[in-house]
């Protein structure tokens, strides 16, 4: 793979998608306002849950805010990259414009996963980041090198798991043609990730850890922030993320053999 070419192409992707989005100023402003209101709403909802006894699943409100911060960053990444690109796969397959992607001398997964960008998602990432900084202060967390690297590793793994799940569902469009609903279900599950994994019943914990590891992706990085993480859990997250990423890649290459293109 020619890395220099891929960096050059990605710069062009950034340039063209930012230029496309900036064509519609009002839309950007509405998106930015929505991101701020959504964060305020989520924190308000969380505070209601903690009003009675101050604890949910053994987590204090200040600790649960860390999960909210990580969730906001992940949601920002979803809105910036995953949503504009991965929902487009369904459109590409239904309308047959995937033809143009497949005939370009560039990796098709790279192209369809990163071509577009929604700049309003950046604000969410920043808001999540500031919320985390605030949580570090109120929870009196020491910023050590191991803490920073473990946080970075676990958050990166969470991003990989989320991307792979979404990409996997979108790829099934090659057979099922329309899978909007499946990606919407995934988005709804992502909301679950705002709450600590321990606050769910045992069966739901198993479901959200193994079947659809949504809670996994916010809870483990949050545990790293609070110094509660166990090394086996971090290792497990790294393994799960790698397996998901490799599987989604293999699945995409396999699915392309069944691509029949739309009729003209």
């Amino acid at each position: 793979m020619n890395l220099r070419k891929y960096i050059k192409v990605y710069k062009k992707f950034l340039h063209t998608s930012l230029a496309s989005e900036l064509e519609y100023k009002t839309n950007i402003i509405v998106d930015l306002i929505t991101a701020i209101l959504s964060l305020i709403g989520s924190i308000f909802l969380l505070s209601i849950f903690f009003q009675n006894n101050g604890y949910i699943g053994g987590w204090k409100f200040e600790q649960a805010l860390i999960i909210q911060g990580i969730y906001t960053i992940l949601n920002g990444i979803t809105n910036t990259w995953f949503n504009p690109n991965l929902t487009e796969i369904v459109k590409h397959i239904r309308e047959g414009t995937l033809d143009f992607v497949l005939l370009k001398p560039i990796d098709s997964q790279f192209f369809i996963s990163l071509k577009k960008i929604n700049p309003s998602g950046f604000l969410e990432i920043m808001l999540g980041f500031f919320l985390l900084l605030y949580c570090i202060r109120i929870n009196q967390i020491n910023l050590t090198l191991s803490f920073l690297s473990l946080s970075l590793i676990t958050i990166s793994c969470s991003i990989c798991i989320l991307y792979s799940l979404w990409f996997f569902i979108s790829t099934t469009t090659i057979w099922f043609v329309k899978t909007w609903n499946a990606t919407e279900v995934l988005r709804s599950f992502l909301y679950i990730g705002r709450f600590p994994l321990n606050s769910f019943s045992f069966s739901l914990r198993v479901f959200f850890s193994i079947i659809i590891p949504i809670a996994f992706i916010t809870t483990i990085p949050s545990e790293v922030f609070l110094g509660l993480s166990q090394m086996w859990k971090i290792l497990l997250e790294v393994i799960v993320a790698s397996v998901f990423l490799i599987t989604s890649r293999k699945f995409w290459l396999f699915a392309l053999k069944y691509y029949s293109s739309a009729s003209s």
Binding site: K11, S20, G96, D99, P105, S264
Partner: protein, 331 residues
């Protein structure tokens, strides 16, 4: 000897197609128990195309023309048989192969809708690993050939269909491919835009010796661009050869309208032995076989007092229309 750039042998393709009965009952049945059947859309076809050739694929809707093009450019895996394009197996989509081909579809677009075409051109240039200087040079050259200038800087959504198609062509040709697959490139364009596009394709073929495979329902595209046509009927090749031979075979007779000086001359001509289609006063229309046109006209001009004479070619659409419904042409 010119080498083959496309080599297709015993190619077949089957698709699983689901069918649905009409009405609510049919819809419910279709939802719970989908019935699919394997449909062979391409049936054991073989052909070769030489470098620099322009070949038209003719056939009715659903005959399999687009499927053939998509298999040639590597979008669809063949079910049986072999395809070699420029020495590559297309469905492997190797970088060297993809840098050599392009696909243009009249009904689909790759340009970024909200931005001027120039942005899409530079994006494609980076994908084909062209530096900025080279990209600029090629954009300039192609835009001159396509006669587009200001349109390059206007958002695609505000361009007319003709301007958009020219821009699509430029985006698809920026990497200077050797093989062009064109699927109805003039679809929906007005007559002038169609003519300009054809002129451009002729020039591009002349200057670069690129091979062009073209499907179109506009017969003018086929007659002005292609010397050779491959007729596809229900997934099989019904004719592969020169277009003019096919036309001669399909319309062996020409109609000649003769305006005589007097009605008497017209009556004499009527009884001379030609096949008469009709006669109105001093005007008579006769049918003459293509191979005896010169001698017949000589006889008429020598023996009758003729005021005017018109040779009518049968409309090309009508002639080609016969191809679309016939299974085999043995020429």
């Amino acid at each position: 000897m010119v080498q083959n750039i496309i080599d297709v042998k015993n190619l077949s393709k089957s698709f699983d197609i689901s069918s649905k009965e009409p009405g609510l009952k049919g819809t419910i049945k279709h939802f719970f128990r989908r019935q699919t059947k394997s449909l062979k859309v391409i049936k054991n076809i073989s052909f070769e195309i030489k470098k620099g050739e322009i070949v038209g694929f003719l056939g009715a809707n659903g005959a399999g023309k687009t499927t053939i093009l998509k298999m040639l450019c590597g979008l669809i895996y063949p079910s049986e048989g072999s395809i070699l394009v420029s020495g590559h197996l297309p469905f492997r989509r190797k970088e060297n192969f993809l840098k050599n081909i392009t696909l243009i579809m009249g009904q689909k677009q790759q340009l970024i809708w909200d931005l001027p075409p120039i942005e899409s051109f530079y994006l494609n240039a980076s994908i084909y690993d062209l530096d900025k200087f080279e990209a600029k040079k090629r954009i300039q050259k192609l835009s001159e050939m396509l006669e587009i200038d200001e349109e390059l800087f206007i958002p695609v959504r505000k361009l007319s269909l003709g301007q958009r198609m020219k821009s699509e062509l430029l985006a698809a040709l920026i990497h200077e491919p050797n093989i062009l697959f064109l699927d109805e490139p003039t679809l929906g364009l007005d007559i002038n835009a169609q003519r300009k596009l054809r002129k451009f394709l002729q020039k591009y073929n002349r200057e670069t010796n690129a091979t062009i495979c073209l499907t179109s329902h506009y017969m003018k595209d086929i007659t002005s661009l292609c010397k050779r046509v491959i007729c596809v009927h229900e997934g099989a090749i019904s004719y592969d050869g020169k277009l003019d031979l096919l036309l001669k075979k399909l319309s062996p007779v020409k109609e000649i309208l003769i305006v005589c000086r007097s009605e008497d001359d017209a009556t004499k001509l009527e009884n001379y032995g030609f096949t008469v289609k009709n006669k109105i006063k001093n005007e008579i229309t006769i049918k003459i076989e293509n191979n005896s046109i010169t001698s017949s006209l000589k006889t008429i001009l020598n023996n009758f007092d003729i005021e005017d004479l018109f040779i009518n070619e049968p409309p090309i659409d009508e002639v080609i229309g016969k191809v679309l419904i016939k299974k085999d042409y043995d020429i």
